[in-house]
Symmetry: D2
Subunit: 338 residues, 4 copies
């Protein structure tokens, strides 16, 4: 942390800032310069609300030097994290495809999807039993009945289950069925929920909030890890910008810095990212080339009749074609699709 | 709803779209034009996932005509909503100042704040017992002990309490103490929480999400109202943009369209909106002039020692000065501060 | 400038950074800390491309301490700038209303507008002879004929002229007629144009770019001032965000920090900021309360027949009502409308 | 175009809107519905300022159906555009790499760069003689001397030249030297400049504006094409968002919709898009996988000593490695690097 004093700051003002720093149990290091003084701060300052220094008389600006995340940080933990699941592992070297319909609509479509995906070599099925919908009048998911259908698909086909948890009430039920618990974009900073899944024994797929910076996203991962659950998988799904050519702005460029700052694996969701089926394959291929560790992608037996997100779901034929392209592209990149 | 067909669309494609509309139990109205056909849709289409039409062959675009919110909409409910509280009412004609510290730090500072505010004619105290913090290592609020302190302040001074609810577990406890239940910006689309406060008997102050459009915000209000709680108060608190001169971009320009589209009262939070104490008074005055129905504003007995948000809190003297300016400005606008 | 080294940085890497700083003719000040070393830089570093340090081995981050603008900065020039014009002055204490149609459509409507505005006590007419239009097929303005009409209005009524310059070709012609040369939002970083108006003898009204930070905006002002023209007036007109309730997001919250960082006067354009006539008066009043030094506002004799921007133009009656409200609000704020 | 009337609109108001449409020489088609009437508009309405209808009494909303761009539109011109240059062609099937330093610093570094690139099989050199810089105190480019150096490199090595034009004054000189004239992001809506290059006999590389929607970008291309120059190449280079992990937010997801809406080729600039050398290769590979037609990429003989943009420039070894990876990835995608 560095406090930059105004060029007009008096010695008394500099002194007051140093005292305020000491009250926080930190050490001030005043560094006089030609036009102004800067004051370095050392000590464990990750948790302080540094902005309170910002308003002291004579202070012009405040610059943070240390990253506020620890457990999620590559600086603290250099080796890549591999999230190990019954049938597969998510991490460097592979490219994990998690596919399936937006929501569990009925048993038949889930079983058909699970069997189809297993035949294609896909090990993880995504489908929501609890659905966060913008409108209270829209289909909200089948709830516990949906979880039972997912459990049946898992038992019958051996496919792993990725499904969303929306609140702490249903945490036990979701944790029971899921191989990976998904936290949705709207809940990325639902801190009560993050604390709860920090206690879960299942890995957590943490979607990026619609307006979250990379640092805020890693801080949300930190909440989960601080609870003792180190198996966190990041998932980019598009952010909110002025751009209106797609449903969201898929921020593929977050992949390299996320991998530089953190050891956690990162997936991409090109379905929500683009919102339009026609654009999904191009962005899926680009995710692989950009260095992501896998995809979360919507596939539906009959997209035109889907109860939600049909517009961005691939049908089985389209998904099969995409998988072929991904396999061709993975080889020269030294990766294998799993 | 209007489906715009491509200029190359075949009669068969137009037919297929009409059939898909009928499968949704709606009525299609094809309108041939010189270069392309558009298909109007009538019927109750607020809850359908129209984007599934978007991917049918020959469809170029889809334009929505009806607003998806009903109970929150001025079109359905023309008269302004007045939210009536024990000592005051929020709505047109008045300008309600809700003030207090960011968080309940201890009993003494809350009682001092409550007494000071009552002397100034302020009827509602804001203070958080449960605090959503970006870092898991930062002060998370006093929790239930904080609620007890707030209850004591209410009993001793008669001031009304506005405090945040972060999860359904604490809903009963917060509802017991609060005169207004606050839903924070990060929970604006925490739909499980919205449903819960839809059942509460206390008014709800709904902060705008950091990346929420006006329509999404009104849809969040709709969730609460659909549960039976019509006493919703909107609160603008700054949105996330590229702009970096302040903590968030306070979107005062949302006030006139919010009042045009909805009958609900709307407040402004200039403290979170700017993030810097020096800029708060100007934006507080601007909120009044822009037609907002009141303020949510941070005031602290000793901002420089605050455990959170000190940088954006006014001290007692600064708040007193602001209140004087607000009263002077309210008169020519035909408003009274309450 | 401060270079933050990684916690794994070697002494050799720290040394290399210091040498790179010296190659830039600046002085490095290494400051070892408990977990990492930071290197302060002193000397005149406003013009260096500091990002080249960012990629040296062992460097983690780079933080700038000094603001890059000088002439536009309040730190270098503490006293407020007053821009003095033949009939009026723009700056603190007053609130200057610049009004008129979007574009010069014909002589009659300009003369009617000028006469009406003079009767209302308005001293400056805005109207474009050269119009930047998104579509090449839209009305592009009357050009030189438009300038002649403006000159006639000036001569007949004594009103001052504010009109846009789009390119250096027309600089002499515009400078001849204008009392204030307007640089539009799309040209805020048209550096060739900024250099040209830096040589002009007339004040320049510099609109904020649609995606410009406050710092970039002040750097654009710096371009003009570096050429010798110190009479720069800033004008906020809405920025580009995800928010879709209005044409742009009018960023009123930029007014206080702009006044804190710079001595230049700042106006607000609520017409482009909102894009909708009904929302203009509220935002005009809010601009005054927020501390802006005036307005740039669209008024048209017959908005429904305007060739451009009719939707955001007030008619004469609406403008008269607004002016009355502005005068009532100005009094308690200690300001006078001019 | 569709005018949506309010549910309270009177028959007289509907009539007035129809008359206003007729005054624009267009045909209104009123369509009464259960809760409200919508009015379709037919005729050539691309150039009208439709927002003037928006403010008529009883009008609730206005929805545009036709795209405003014609010449740039795939709907009007279905076949892909191939931009043919002396030694290479930009368009489908190939992936064109345009590489070189940010600015022309001296003859030696340009000749070294040109020779190196030719050896690598690269046919086009990028380098700026005129540089748009945020600060008036930063290096502004060598100007005409820079153009002469580029001409010499072209003559000596046969490499094609891509260089930026910042103003109409230098249009003849740049057109003389350049094989492709570059229009920078800050000038995307400098309409005077667009009109000028619409008359040029050289292809134009049009960078996307920092806050430009896809539609605005294609309208800027339309300006150039309306002048008679059909050889326009789009170039995505990152947009301005809240995201701060990279210099800009590289919007790779614009590639598929740009190719769907327009027949023009589209390149990607991963150097400006990320702003950091380490992130460039990943995004370059992702651009190829996403379906872009090529790259504009910064390469410098000694990035750490570059006069501008060194932080985002690859050195020769890094570029050689990237080129190898691109060639490996191009094969399975059925593309060749040129």
């Amino acid at each position: 942390m560095l406090v930059v004093m105004s060029s007009h700051a008096t010695p008394e003002q500099i002194d007051q800032v140093c005292q305020a720093i000491q009250r926080m149990k930190l050490t001030p290091h005043p560094m006089p310069g030609p036009t102004r003084t800067a004051i370095g701060i050392t000590g464990n300052n990750s948790a302080i609300d540094a902005r309170s220094l910002e308003v002291l008389p004579g202070v012009e600006d405040l610059v943070r030097v240390t990253k506020p995340f620890k457990l999620a940080s590559r600086e603290m933990h250099e080796a890549d994290t591999y999230v190990r699941l019954p049938r597969t592992t998510i991490g460097p070297g592979t490219f994990t495809v998690i596919a399936g319909p937006c929501s569990v609509e009925n048993e038949d479509m889930i079983l058909r999807s699970a069997e189809f995906l297993r035949e294609q070599g896909v090990n993880l099925l995504r489908a929501g039993a609890f659905k966060p919908r913008t409108s209270p009048y829209a289909f909200q998911g089948l709830g516990e009945e949906g979880l039972e259908i997912l459990a049946k698909a898992r038992q019958k086909t051996g496919i792993g289950i990725v499904t969303e948890l929306m609140d702490t009430e249903n945490a036990d039920a979701v944790e029971e069925v899921a191989d990976i618990i998904q936290i949705g974009t709207r809940n990325m900073q639902n801190f009560s929920l993050l604390k709860r899944v920090g206690l879960a024994r299942k890995p957590v797929l943490l979607k990026r909030g619609m307006a979250a910076t990379l640092e805020e996203w890693l801080m949300a991962a930190e909440y989960i890890m601080a609870g003792g659950n180190y198996n966190v998988i990041l998932c980019e799904r598009g952010v909110r910008t002025f751009s209106d050519h797609s449903r969201n702005t898929l921020d593929l460029s977050v992949v390299p810095p996320a991998k530089a700052l953190s050891h956690l694996p990162i997936l991409v969701d090109p379905s929500h990212g683009t919102g339009k089926r026609d654009y999904v394959p191009a962005m899926a291929l680009a995710s692989l080339a950009a260095g992501a560790h896998g995809l979360l992608i919507e596939v539906h037996p009959e997209p035109d009749r889907a109860m939600s997100d049909g517009a961005q779901s691939l049908d089985f034929a389209g998904f099969t074609r995409l998988l072929t392209s991904l396999r061709q592209l993975a080889a020269p990149l030294g990766r294998t699709i799993n």
